[in-house]
Assembly symmetry: C3
């Protein structure tokens, strides 16, 4: 299934509407193009309804939210719901500020989401309705490890069931669950954490995968996580003396550009519980 | 003439005011620096009048427009007109939303433009006063091909005459016309379409070329199109195993950095009708 | 001391709040990650107070200021002062427009700054309360050279004393002074000027260094300047045929990623007057 999920993206060329932060937006656009999809960015309340209507899905990322873009998220989200489009929320920094926490909760409340993708601290904030994350990166004490894996799987399944949404928690070990099944994914490298926006990029990529696989959303979300991790592994294999996080960023996007379903299925390392 | 157009940029170091989208702005700034010019970005209505006054020309790109930046476009455009500066419009996504179509038409109506540069779908939207483009990329059925080239040349000449502005339509075959003559340019590679913002970059580059060649705007616009296409060809010749669209993006800007009039004139592939 | 300043960044992993321009923000985030620190970007007035509270310091960059972000700068700056956090101002384009000059002066007046870092034209604008810079790059006639070095050192010391703030003027020769001592730094390469945002990147890097070395701010600021220059030299040594400013940008960030205190102390070229 993982293989078909990627191949469907290249076949269908989904159009992805992104309301996303200005820090990582260029990389998000390029990774969406790299996987064979097409990105549009628009965050003006008067513009988003038209734009989202011509797309197949919406990627909402609150990384550099402002009052204008929050309004745009709600308008675009409701329009997407009306049209039966896929909607993904990336609650960047939920728990780090009241506005971010409130906005993530508001989007989750007012819009029917298909997927929420974040790091463990952001997802815990959404689970608890409040939080105290230490920035936009996950707190070390929250990390999903082999030791607390059973608890983490139970946590994500319960939360997914309660919120009726697919949840993807990414970190050293990635979890993707629809409440029933949980993908446990062990792709990727710790060096990816030294690049800004690998999470944002994954959210864009995942939205493209979801649009191209609307009848198979759980697998699509898991396939996108595997693809991003595999790209991290493939990209790293091309690193040379003197290369660092900036070149690594390019190599990861390049790896998605050169990837297809067959390569992905060779690299994907996951189990289902 | 193509050769001199580029050499004049390196000689005159034009200062380019850009009101542009936040998706591709970094690449626009770097390609303007790469060609020997200097970029400034400013989109706050209270700031743009002063900023545009110290520049030689203005590049208006509506890619992530908002109400604030639209106001800034009008203010900066009128100030540029007052000062006799070059003004270029890149109507990103015209046809994809009412706000974008209306803004492109409004800018074209209220500001004396020197050049409008877009893809064929965006330019058709401007020609018709409305449109239904499928995002920020051109619709396949609109594409300029060898088969419909005569019609396309007639279309661009007529539109250029009617609007009294140089028009540049870029795609697999590029057209640049002032209503009288039409450059037909066959530089570039299809792989450039997998990079976000090659169009935006070209608009920035072209504004620099226009400023440095104010008495020769048609050739300057055509030279910029040739330069971007040549950079795509040169950049691609440096691609190695594992490279993809993100590295290709860097290589294109690098190719402009290493280009001069002589190299450009060797690569430029065009005819005039 | 230079060595320890860098090592303290990697040891303490400072969290840096950036209110910065959308042109170079991605590179600023990646260079902050490259040096071992962690970036957060937030410029919404309702968000910045919470965000700055969880950080160790604030980097204010006025490169693409707007009314909303100016308000955010003031709110975040005052909160940072309350909490005893480090605050740095990068007055991008001060002198190029009234709004930029006024904003730089207002921030310097209303907020207790630790460091102001800019090019010579921007710093002269702050010294004079007005200015006429020709964009976001320094005017050639202002440049600090070996010939006018004594005067420049006197200028920066006097200004630093008068404003009671560490000042860093960067260019071919860099000066960093607290009014008493002045570091004269001769790292870096002229080719860095063809990359957008090396100044912005340095401001982000410097804020990380200041947070990690709060009892030694002058040395921390000087160490950051040396690190950026050294990265320019190291990065350039990896340049290959066909590479230009876009690849060079990646190589500089990569060089910071691979740098530590020991490498820095080997490359640092400075004297103290």
């Amino acid at each position: 299934m993982i293989k078909e999920c990627f191949d469907n993206v290249r076949k269908n060329v989904p159009l992805v509407h992104n309301i996303t932060n200005y820090v990582t937006v260029n990389d998000v656009a390029n990774i969406i193009l790299a996987c064979g999809a097409s990105p549009i960015m628009s965050d003006e309340p008067e513009d988003v309804s038209d734009i989202t209507s011509i797309c197949g899905g919406l990627n909402i990322n609150i990384g550099t939210l402002n009052k204008n873009s929050i309004e745009a998220m709600i308008i675009a989200g409701k329009k997407s719901n009306e049209l039966g489009h896929v909607v993904l929320l990336d609650p960047v920094g939920a728990g780090a500020s009241k506005l971010r926490t409130d906005t993530a909760l508001r989007v989750a409340r007012e819009i029917k989401l298909d997927v929420i993708r974040g790091n463990i601290s952001e997802i815990k904030t959404i689970a608890n309705g409040s939080g105290t994350t230490k920035g936009v990166d996950a707190d070390v004490e929250d990390a999903v490890t082999e030791d607390n894996l059973n608890d983490a799987v139970k946590f994500i399944k319960d939360l997914s069931k309660r919120l009726n949404v697919i949840i993807a928690i990414t970190g050293a070990i990635d979890l993707v669950s629809d409440g029933d099944k949980c993908y446990i994914i062990r792709n990727g490298l710790p060096q990816m954490g030294a690049i800004t926006g690998t999470g944002c990029q994954l959210s864009g990529l995942m939205t493209a995968f979801l649009i191209a696989n609307k009848n198979n959303k759980l697998e699509a979300a898991a396939a996108a996580v595997c693809a991003m991790g595999a790209a991290g592994e493939i990209g790293y294999s091309y690193m040379q003396k003197g290369d660092g996080n900036s070149t690594y960023r390019n190599r990861i996007i390049d790896a998605i550009y050169n990837m297809d379903g067959e390569i992905l299925s060779k690299y994907a390392k996951y189990e289902i519980r």
